[in-house]
Amino acid sequence: MNARNWLFYVILFSFLGISCSRNEIEFGNIPDNNYTNLVSIDTVEPRLSTVVLDSFTTGSATSFLLGKYKDPYLGIISARPFFQLTIPAETVSISTTSQFDSACFIIHLNKYYYGDTTREQTIYVNELAQTIDYTYNNNLYNSTNVPAKLDALGSKKVKLRPSTDSIIIRLNNSKGAELFNKLQQRSDEVVSDDGFQNYFKGISLSVNDNDTTAIYGLNGASGNMILRIYYHTTIPYPENKWVNFPSKSNNYAFNQIVTDRTGTPLHSSTTGTKEFSSEQTNNAAFTQYGAGALLKMIFPSLKGIITTDKIVKLQKAELIIRPLGQSYDNFKFKLPSSFYLVQTNGTNTIGSFVLDSTLSVLQTASPVVDEIYGLNTYYRFNVTSYINSLLINTGTEDAGFFLLENKDPLQVNRAVIGNSKQALFKTQLLLTILTINK
């Protein structure tokens, strides 16, 4: 092969070596296309209902609720914590010359409240008369009750501010002195936890029957409730001292949360889990997960968007949940700061979490509040994947979501949500669909 031919082949293979590339260039109008259309529709009406649980587990509590409030929609909600105390953390040695002074009970609050905090409540510290024990299926429930001794160990009338950090309630001296003597004598009832549990069954806190003003959140971590014995020594010099009996955070710590729904749309004279359609309850549905009221949404008319002459593909599904305008305020009946959704169906079981668009993180929604007119306050969820699943699968007419609030820490916030028949405060399923003409 001569030089000319070599040159030719070098050019040839350089030429063939041209690599290809293509970049996007934003040019021209969107091509004429009569086959695909993106359409927004809001005609699929979510069917709302309220599922009121017969009971729900509240054992192994890490936070407590205490108090009582009267809700214009949901009746009276009462909350009482039950928990055990334990022996002092360190070995206690009290000289025989030491003198008992007083006893008190210290409660630490977690700054949560719901209701009217401008009024006083009387808080009672009660010693349990019976040991706390599981009632069913190794669990404790909101309806569980453990009897307390007739006379309270102590009480205090107090006006709690949201900023209040702790409450100290003076206990009667007889119980305090009894405990002091056992400590001084190093009685087995205050030296070992088993002995102590046999001797002192636990504590429940309550408020006066007529105090229907507010419910407060208490810190349920171990040691945040304290029964304290004050005493003093005289030898070798006068010195004030105390011993703590701290609270335990264990499986037996639970909240009793009971409701009296007499006179409300959710009242039922029979026991068992009940479901109230929103049409039965003045075109509204209720959510107060902490008190066992679950708002349910299903979409029985969803499949109506499918037509035979077009391919219909869901692009986006948003759930707009609107509270009734006068049902909330910024202080007494605050809207829940955050909701999440779980999947459910006709059995009303609480299923999997509804995740965000990445399908890896729990999706939560905070309220967008219309501070001026109060007409356009809503929670918004992107439920595209889930609605698409309901759309393409069979037997999903009774499938939907529960609207729930975080229970850690335990809360009893509530919201009154309008159904699709509400003129101004309707809950909507907004769909964006791609239709393709066949």
Partner: protein
Amino acid sequence: MIGKNIYTIMLVSGFVSIKSFSQNMNSPYSIYGIGDIDNRIYNRTSGMGGTGLATQSSSYFINNNPAAISGLPRSFYLLSVSATGKTLQYYGDAINETNRKNKDLWLKGLTLAVKINKFWASSIGFKQFSNVNYKFSGNKNVLGSNEIYYAIYEGNGGLNDYYWTNAFSVGKHFSFGIKSSIIAGSINQTETIVNDAATSSIETKQQDYFGSPKFEFGAIYSVALNKKWDFSLGGKFIEKTRLGSERTLTVTENGAAILNDNFIKNDRFYLPRTYGMGITLTHNKKTSFAADYTYENWSPLNIKGDGWSLINSNRISAGIEIAKHIDVLGQKVEKNYFQFGGFISNSYLRVNNMPVNEFGITAGMGGRLNSNLLYTLSLEGGKRGTTKADLIKENFLQLTLSLTYRDFLFSKGRKYD
């Protein structure tokens, strides 16, 4: 030697074909009509701005005019392949450094030509007729809401010209030819929309399948003006041509078909009545001067869309070729040649009331690699479009390679006159 030459042609064809399947050059103007209609010439005349309506060759396949193949020597066959590599830079409002440069490679044509007898030459082959290749994103409005959705639009495909050309000599000075073609291929436009959860990507692919006959007529008159000068006059004519098409729709979701090649409708596109005329003057059989003019009568077809229309187009080209010859067994045989040329065209496309004009200058060379294998290399640089009226200007550089294998039609041992 024969096997080696054929192998070279097959290698080039195969390699370029494979690369052509993955065509990636974004051609924004190909969104209109049936894509970028390729009026360029990919043969020996490429280096002269594609000028050759009145040009014939005894060694190379020239198809500017259907009558041109009548100039081939009797009882020879020619196998010719052409490919083009192009680099391009875009300018305009829609262009930034990330999308300014493009390059690609195409197989532009493959031909087998035979001079069957003293009067009749015939060729079959194909060439790229139009090319569609664009990609851009756009906002699609949601009916009943103020929302807009991000959609990606891609176009690809194009039409090929599968032809059978027959040329006939009438006397020593005149020849005429007819090129009978089937213009066939598909033009595909895909819209991709991804749903809000990014879990579903729906592709709606609209495919227009074309397949229609087209006829091109040409004639060349050649005469020796004197001992030094030869003159040729050529012309071609194409009647208005209806390209029927069938449109289908294919819808896939995440790659799985929902609707597969569903027939939608029959449609049509028209190619315009076309006239072309050219002259070639050759001095001492070495130096040729050529000029062409072609007119396409698009306007009466009333083909238009949103912001664009097809308008009458004119193309003028001219070039010069200088050939070197050597003596082989007492006969003058062309050793190689060098060419220069250029063209200017106000194209058939008008966008935003602005014609998409084009011009280019060319240079070429060619010769023999051995006794049977001929090559042609041409380089073209030019500009198309404008940055006015939100349009895009393309500055391009294009290298075209044509290989021609030439041999006796029949077996060895026979004598031919």
